[in-house]
Symmetry: none
Subunit: 281 residues, 2 copies
């Protein structure tokens, strides 16, 4: 039984500071456990005695024994790091493991549903400084769109997130010029608003990039590029991890393409942000 297993096995019935230890140990496994008690205690923000009690509680005779075991695991794991991970609790078939496994799968499938060509065309659109970028998502998927704008705003100027309320759109619509880009996210339980926005945008010769699922939002009729990612998980709700991963891929590719500019912008950004927070004091 690995130390990791011992930890997760005993992880009910743990006290507040013992949980802090678990977090510290697992988040830098196995190295956190190879520090001295004093050091580990410091990292986890607990007292050395708590560490000592913890090791006894999960069934180890001493802290030293835990270290011996961790080293042994490390030595074994040298053979294959992958094996070490597979060892975990996956066997127990826990809910979390299952969910995450399926989520990871979804992400892989996203790569099949979007071609590299499509991907790079989209990236090129976002990289072009002459085009302004607008973005909006549906009720829930707007968080995905927000993620895009947050990051894109750091990489370049001319990025605008539309408010959810259609009443406020005209202002933005008037600002759109031919060649600009609007990024829309719309997953099932599609919203007619989004489709309408796509239509209006398209009529103004704005390029519509649509992130949707395989059943495809009605906005597809007006889209220049359609990125269809898998979202169904077999649980009550759909998973947006694949969508988020795709957006992150786009954003980070844009950022790399415009690296120098990006760096300057981020530096500036931070400077301004610091100024603002200084002022508050």
């Amino acid at each position: 039984m690995t130390v990791r297993n011992l930890i997760s096995k005993g992880s009910d019935r743990l006290t507040h500071s013992e949980r802090k230890l678990v977090a510290a140990l697992l988040s830098d496994y196995p190295f956190a456990g190879l520090l001295s008690i004093r050091e580990l205690a410091e990292v986890a923000n607990v007292s050395p005695p708590s560490v000592s009690r913890f090791t006894s509680k999960i069934g180890l005779s001493s802290y030293n024994e835990m270290q011996r075991r961790l080293l042994e695991e490390l030595r074994e794991g040298e053979r294959s790091p992958v094996e070490l991970h597979d060892f975990g609790e996956r066997i127990e078939g826990g809910y979390l493991q299952g969910f995450l496994g399926r989520a990871a799968e979804k992400i892989q499938f996203a790569g099949d549903a979007i071609t590299e060509g499509q991907f790079h065309r989209v990236v090129t659109l976002f990289t072009d400084p002459k085009r302004e970028i607008f973005a909006l998502g549906g009720r829930i998927s707007d968080t995905i769109a927000l993620h895009l704008t947050f990051h894109l705003k750091q990489a370049r100027s001319g990025v605008l997130h539309l408010p959810r309320d259609p009443e406020a759109w005209p202002e933005y619509l008037l600002r759109m010029n031919p060649g600009d880009v609007i990024f829309l996210v719309d997953f099932r339980r599609y919203e007619s608003n989004i489709a309408r926005l796509a239509e209006i945008s398209a009529s103004r010769r704005v390029q519509v990039v649509l992130l949707t699922d395989k059943w495809m939002s009605p906005a597809k009729r007006h889209a220049t590029e359609i990125l269809a990612v898998p979202i169904e998980t077999g649980t009550i709700w759909d998973s947006y991890v694949a969508a988020l991963a795709t957006v992150e891929a786009i954003v980070s590719c844009v950022a790399e393409d415009t690296w120098r500019k990006t760096r300057n912008r981020i530096t500036e950004w931070d400077a301004v942000r610091n100024l603002a927070s200084e002022k508050r004091k």
Copy 2:
């Protein structure tokens, strides 16, 4: 300079027993050096003082320093094969494929850093209808927190998302009762606001559930549960897919646990929503 290099560099001018040590150290590098002095001395068939003298001779301040360095090397070594592997893949399979692959991996690792026990305790907290749920995230990570509140609001009542502006917090803080739960998301480039909010909440006996990365937000000091997920990707920006996946897992587990109630709520919700949109027309 690695310990191995130090050893071979100084390997002229070594005495008989020091050579025995070199042999022992190199034949089981780096693990032999992680034993205690006494054990290593035994393995190499020399006395402990010889080990001590040896480490000084090759230019280390103490035996302890050698161990620290060896662990550091081990940690680096663990990392690099994975990275190399990923980088190779990426060039072959295109940017998107590479990015998604790494994202999927991150999600798997998230399962190692969070135990099923921890996961279910958090779910239980969120399921308890007597507790109100508050949530907030950092500048960018707030999208993750939003995702939680959006979904949780459908599953139960008493879910509130705090505004980003601290000026508006008091109203919410006053509403908090002992036993309530606050869900905070804070990734590196941590925000002092979040830590402060955690502190205040904890002082009001509100349970603090913290979603953070392995470097751990300063808010950890006040957290009841710490969910540490991997976020570093080797690109300019961190990836929040693992965080999103974790939140989705929580939300969908909560929903399943309270399935019946949830179904009613969703039905009601949709009814109200339809009514509202009917009206608009």
